[in-house]
Amino acid sequence: METNQYVKEVAGEKYKYGFTTDIHTEIIEKGLNEQTIRTISEKKGEPEWLLQFRLDAYKQWLDMKQPSWGHLKMPEIDYQAISYYADPTAKKKDNENKEIDPELIKTFDKLGIPLEERLALSGTAVDAVMDSVSVKTTQQEVLAEKGIIFCSFGEAVKNHPELVKKYLGSVVPPKDNFFAALNSAVFSDGSFVYIPKNTRCPMELSTYFRINARMTGQFERTLIVCDEGAYVSYLEGCTAPMRDENQLHAAIVEIVVMDNAEVKYSTVQNWFPGDENGQGGVLNLVTKRGHLRGVNSKLSWTQVETGSAITWKYPSCVLSGDGSQAEFYSVALTNHYQQADTGTKMIHLGKNTKSTIISKGISAGKSQNSYRGLVRVSPNADGARNYSSCDSLLLGSECGAHTFPYMDVKNNNAVVEHEATTSKISEDQLFYCNQRGISTEEAVGLIVNGYAKDVINKLPMEFAVEAQKLLAVNLEGSVG
């Protein structure tokens, strides 16, 4: 009964990443206008074309309206009350000192993300991002030997402008949606990954995002390009301090997958979900999309969503390469007053493309959890195949679980299947566990973990452990 003890052990914990780091942070003035964008661009020392990209995006954003179709009660966001750039490493630059502030190292240590090379053996390269700036990227040299580029977005713009220019905005154009336009205008740091042809990335790459400063938003941008025959597994983790106001997080993730290449993208999202009364929490409004350009390319999204007051995102795949395959595995857990409207989009354009969607929603407390997914098969996507399954588990009588699948099929030899169930934990299962001396609370933990196993098994090892812990912690108090 190892899992059970485990569940119990962690069930006693609250949101443990809620601490703040007291560090000198340079924050630019609140508000968003053309000048803000110029300031950000200047601070990052960006070339003219990137500034132009931002300004164009800003112009488009001005003409757009915040969408309201989500099954969410969104608090009003005052885009002028947010600061769009916060740099916790600013002091360092002033002192011309190459060392990272020990305060920052401590912070990431506390989060379990060691920035020092002493963990070189752990087999993971980390890009640690706090607020708007990448603090450090580890293992870069080892990767560089293989020709792999793994660095912060800012560095990539400086060192590999031709790659960035070629791929930036090619998967998620600025005018894609309201939040994508906002991000394109004000994006700060994120990670850039390029895996050259026929290279298998020897270690997991990961980025850890942390919001620290008050009244700021995080607008990171991740771009992953996986060239022909290459492979990479990429992890993303995120936390934020407990604040009683909402914090905005509007990121973009773009992935380009070439012929015979494979990308695995895993997220464990644990932004601050707000307190038991629904105060505060991060608004997680992210656009994530992968473009499977090459033949027989593969992309797999795995996400464990336990945090954020509001999660509104649809990691998507555009399958344009013939024979490409896409997968989406998701566990979304909401508790207290959290709201999630998440799912995926699978756009089949190429022939013999295949996609799988496995979504598990768990709602507890007074939360609302929705799955929304689109499967579109274009007239040319002969032999396209999709299988979707989305299950919802309800814990507590005041929560909601919703499923909104969309299927647009424009081809006669495509096979699209969808199934969904919604139910609570069955009395029989609980009774069976109770009979064997397992308390109800433990039994629920056990059943939930078993329920989410399909997805958690897809996560890389280190993340799987964290994800299981998270599920247990977030269910605390909702059982019984």
Partner: protein, 447 residues
């Protein structure tokens, strides 16, 4: 305001008095309010989630004639439709365009059951009508319902008083008959009081080769312990556009089954809204669609569980050929506190050609925890293995395909509780797949 909305607003303002003067009195009361609602809401646009797949503006844009003055179109439907579904003796009623046929039989078995136009209804039925009219079909929520309420002049009423049972199946034939393009606004009211029981069959037919636009609003009230079987069969032609909104209000301990069969049509949009307001009721919604050429069929359903311990089943199957477009959106809404709800939804679709389009959207919206809800949806092609098996046994490909398609649809027809109708439907489906039901030539049910 769009051009097509303006057209109807002007028309109403111009003909307001004529409409009222030639209308059944009971329909006049909410007319002005409904018109106001239409003016403010207008037609639903493609941006509205529920109408994403049907362009309402476009459907209402052409200039159709309307028969506000209730000019009698000389016809004797009894001549055209001689018999009923074999082995099923029905009570046969006609609605010609939106006018209840003047020589409809009068039903009187002493039980107080009333069938027919609201104009001739006895006091009790009229009272029931007024009590329920526009109470279930909310004119503020839907532009088409509002327009229908503003323009409708006659209503077909089915009134079954307490503990009474309609022994025979009622068959209402909706005939579309005109020399020029015509718009009709039909209204149906079905009131089953406590413990009442009825089986109803509605058939839609177009007699002439002109364009028809039909709006139909059906309000159904099922009192506690009542039992309703309703079948709607549409066999029009490709120039017909039909918007049918059905609102069903279900009390406690009821058993209600609504079946929507689209065999032949031009553009069809069926909206079904079921509200379960009493415990221990069961609702079944079934539908099958066979469409080819440029036909469009859009079924939009909502089953709302407001109370605990109810059960709902939904099954829709589509077979799409040529450039047909099918859409299905089924939403099951379980309100807070509606515990022990059991709900199942299934939508399966066959696309036979590359040009056929299917949009499927089975949705669950659940706010209670002790429920069992599931939905499934598939879009696909005929099973190659099954085809191969049949060809091996000397069945030609075309025949084998037909057999499989028929088997696919029969999952829905098997749910029909009226046996003769079930057989008849199987026959019609077969005929339809063979392309022999190309054009409506009167009531195929009766041939």
């Amino acid at each position: 305001m769009t051009q097509s909305e303006k057209q109807y607003i002007d028309l109403y303002e111009e003909c307001r008095e004529v409409i009222k003067a030639n209308s059944a009195e009971a329909l006049n009361a909410p007319r002005e309010l409904a018109f106001k609602h239409f003016m403010s809401a207008g037609f639903p646009t493609l941006k509205k989630e529920e109408y994403k797949y049907t362009d309402v503006q476009k459907a209402f844009a052409p200039d159709y004639g309307l028969n506000f003055k209730r000019i009698d179109i000389p016809t004797d439907p009894f001549e055209v439709f001689r018999c009923n579904v074999p082995n099923l003796s029905t009570l046969l009623y006609f609605v010609v365009n939106d006018l209840c046929f003047k020589d409809n039989p009068t039903f009187n078995d002493g039980s107080g059951i009333y069938l027919g136009s609201i104009k001739q209804a006895p006091e009790r039925a009229k009272e029931a009508f007024t009590q329920h009219y526009t109470k279930h079909a909310d004119t503020a929520s839907d532009g088409i319902t509002a327009l229908n309420t503003a323009l409708a002049q006659d209503a077909f009423m089915v009134y079954v008083p307490r503990h009474q049972r309609l022994n025979k199946t009622l068959q209402v034939i909706n005939l579309l008959h005109a020399k020029t393009d015509l718009m009709v606004n039909r209204r149906v009211m079905i009131v089953l009081e406590e413990g009442a029981q009825a089986t109803l069959l509605f058939c839609d037919h177009a007699m002439d080769n002109v364009s028809f636009l039909a709006t139909q609003v059906t309000e159904i009230y099922c009192g506690n312990n009542s039992h309703l079987d309703m079948y709607e069969m549409e066999e029009n032609h490709t120039q017909c556009t039909r918007f049918s909104n059905t609102y069903v209000n279900v009390g406690a301990d009821c058993n209600v089954s609504i079946n929507n069969i689209t065999l032949y049509n031009g553009t069809t949009r069926n909206t079904t809204r079921v509200t379960l307001q009493g415990e221990h009721s069961e609702v079944t919604l079934n539908g099958c669609v066979i469409a080819d050429k440029n036909q469009k069929v859009d079924n939009n359903t909502l089953i709302e569980h407001q109370v605990p311990n109810c059960k709902s089943n939904e099954l829709y199957r589509y077979v799409l050929d040529d450039s047909a477009v099918g859409a299905f959106a089924g939403r099951i809404l379980v309100q807070p506190g509606a515990q022990k709800t059991v709900s199942e939804e299934n939508n399966a679709n066959l696309c036979a050609t590359k040009q056929a389009r299917m949009y499927s959207q089975p949705m669950l919206e659940i706010y209670a925890d002790d429920v069992k809800c599931s939905h499934g949806s598939t879009v696909g092609v005929l099973d190659e293995n099954a085809l191969f098996y049949m060809q091996q046994r000397g069945i030609p490909t075309e025949e084998a395909r037909m057999l499989l398609k028929h088997a696919f649809i029969s999952q829905v027809s098997e749910k029909i509780r009226l046996e003769p109708l079930r057989e008849r439907l199987n026959y019609l489906v077969n005929k339809r797949f063979r392309g022999q039901l190309d054009k409506c030539t009167g009531c195929s049910l009766c041939k």
